[in-house]
């Protein structure tokens, strides 16, 4: 795969060794590696432009402000938001989703109301809604799955009712790796007057996202899962909705006038960005977006699809491998493959693969209700990105074939 080989050159970490072996990094659902272009953008910012934005009258602070605000405009264009004020920088998707839960949820959800989420949500789009439901005496309802692990159409139609105030859904499940029909969920939510909160953590790095086309009211994602530094994330919200919401965190930079007993707050987006922000991270995120768009999502999707189509038939040949979310009847599989090895705990599988230089995730993937629903205590997950190759897949599958033997089980 010449494409991936060409990109690999940009990622210094992929040329290091893990346990004495060339690393096959297959944990991109957790975080991605960073290209030179992103690493350099951090050095450029901290080495030449670092100052506190929005404050000083001196040139350096003005430059830091420009970098920060240009990054916001870059993100706006990237996800096609209407205005830059609709882009709020956060620490990560978790903070973004908490912002929505605390500020929108606690204000607009009341006793007797309903919040509807899917059983495939990551804890970050689940636990905050549990909190809001409990705090306000509302009911938390779940959309479950069809036999092929896609969201139940019937549940979408019946669970979202006139009582529903918030619907929260992930665009791609971090365990099942299936693209959800978010537009359909948004439409249903709007038909009953609810807002729809979309978790884009596993989608924005892998496919073109257009928040206006989705008509999502909120859309959250982390930078670090899309080649950016850790510690920078984004919450998109429709201007009219954000404008009416109370601030989430209070302090510097988010105020207009502060008196001893009263404060008036700044306009969007400053109202939601209290304290000194991660300007270096924002610069890194803009550099990552440049990098991804220069490659194009068509190519990224094609690379991931080729790897999935290469891996799944081979895995299905192995009688001791169980797969989850790999039998979708729709053409919506992304580069995430969740599996178990018969008789072997996922944590042992991951340790054994690690000894062959193959990095996969093992555990509940911050989706315990989904694990419970699937009847699994834990699973392993391999997740691809643009720099992965068929050779990585070969090394993963070769190592998988050795797992049962290491623990003294037969090969079938």
């Amino acid at each position: 795969m010449s494409d991936a080989q060409e990109f690999r050159r940009d990622f210094p970490l992929l040329h290091t060794k893990m346990n004495g072996q060339q690393i096959a990094y297959l944990d991109n659902g957790a975080t991605t590696q960073k290209p030179e272009q992103v690493i350099r953008s951090l050095c450029t910012y901290y080495g030449g432009c670092n100052a506190n934005p929005h404050r000083g009258a001196y040139a350096l602070s003005v430059e830091a402000t420009d970098i920060y605000e240009n990054s916001r405009a870059r993100v706006q264009k990237f996800i096609n938001a209407k205005r830059p004020e609709e882009i709020l920088f956060t620490k990560n998707a978790t903070e973004a989703l908490n912002l929505v839960a605390y500020s929108y949820g606690l204000t607009n959800v009341n006793a007797g109301d309903e919040i509807v989420i899917t059983v495939a949500e990551h804890h970050s789009n689940l636990v905050p809604w549990q909190y809001v439901a409990k705090a306000k005496g509302a009911t938390l309802k779940y959309i479950y799955l069809e036999d092929d692990a896609n969201l139940s159409d019937e549940d979408i139609e019946t669970k979202i009712t006139e009582k529903t105030k918030v619907v929260a859904v992930t665009q791609v499940s971090n365990v099942l790796g299936l693209k959800n029909d978010v537009k359909k969920v948004v439409k249903k939510a709007h038909s009953v007057g609810a807002v729809c909160v979309v978790d884009g953590s596993q989608s924005v790095a892998h496919m073109k996202v257009d928040v206006q086309d989705l008509d999502a009211d909120f859309f959250a994602f982390s930078g670090h899962k899309m080649l950016s530094p850790m510690g920078i994330g984004v919450l998109y919200g429709k201007y009219e909705i954000l404008d009416k919401m109370p601030p989430f965190l209070m302090g510097g930079d988010m105020i207009e006038y502060v008196h001893e007993q009263d404060t008036t707050f700044a306009e969007l987006p400053a109202k939601f960005e209290a304290g000194t922000q991660n300007v270096g991270g924002a610069a890194g995120l803009a550099a990552a977006i440049d990098y991804l768009e220069s490659i194009t999502f068509d190519r990224i999707e094609a690379i991931e699809k080729e790897l999935v189509d290469y891996a799944i038939p081979q895995l299905k040949e192995l009688p001791y491998i169980e797969l989850y979310g790999c039998d979708s009847t729709r053409d919506n599989k992304t580069g995430i493959i969740t599996f178990n090895v018969k008789d072997v705990h996922p944590h042992d599988v991951a340790t054994i693969l690690d000894s062959y230089g193959v990095a996969v995730r093992a555990g509940h993937h911050c989706a315990q209700p989904l694990m419970e629903y699937l009847g699994q205590n834990a699973t392993c997950r391999a997740s691809f990105y643009l720099y992965n190759t068929k050779e990585d897949v070969d090394r993963w599958i070769d190592a998988l074939k050795k797992v049962r033997g290491v623990l003294g089980y037969g090969t079938v």
Partner: protein
């Protein structure tokens, strides 16, 4: 660290077929231990009588290391004074944390020495110590009723 240093013969046997994985008919104490990040989960059952661990067993799910470690621990503490069992738990935890390295001191851990290699694997330490921490908690007030 070679895989064979971690997944030793002893660990393989105890994890594939843990003899102590069952319920205890006359348990005086049952305590749950859990590693939330990886999903290892055990419930340790103890029958304490006259200051002794008369019998012990466990139920639950987990990786080979956590299951084998629990099974081996139960073999080791069955019939011992509560005081001795507590000492062994602390000694084992000390070994895995790399705080106790003197071989003569560790000798009394017997079969549990097979888990010594885990001390060099930070990602797996919590799997190895789960049962022993649970035991340590269960015996905090000399194994009085806890369910």
């Amino acid at each position: 660290m070679a895989l064979s240093d971690i997944y030793t013969e002893v660990i393989g046997e105890h994890s594939r077929d843990p003899e102590n994985k069952r319920h205890l008919p006359h348990a005086t104490c049952a305590l749950r231990g859990h590693n939330p990040s990886c999903g290892d989960e055990i419930t340790l059952e103890l029958e304490i009588e006259d200051g002794k661990v008369k019998d012990a067993s466990f139920t639950g799910v987990g990786c080979a290391i956590s299951q084998a470690s629990t099974d081996i621990m139960i073999d080791l503490i069955r019939g011992r004074e509560v005081k001795e069992a507590k000492h062994l738990a602390q000694l084992f935890i000390g070994m895995i944390k790399g705080e106790v390295t003197d071989e003569s001191e560790l000798e009394e851990l017997d079969e549990a020495l097979a888990l010594k290699g885990v001390a060099h694997m930070p990602a797996r330490v919590k799997c190895a110590v789960l049962a022993w921490h649970t035991l340590d908690h269960a015996l905090e007030d000399d194994g009085s009723q806890k369910k």
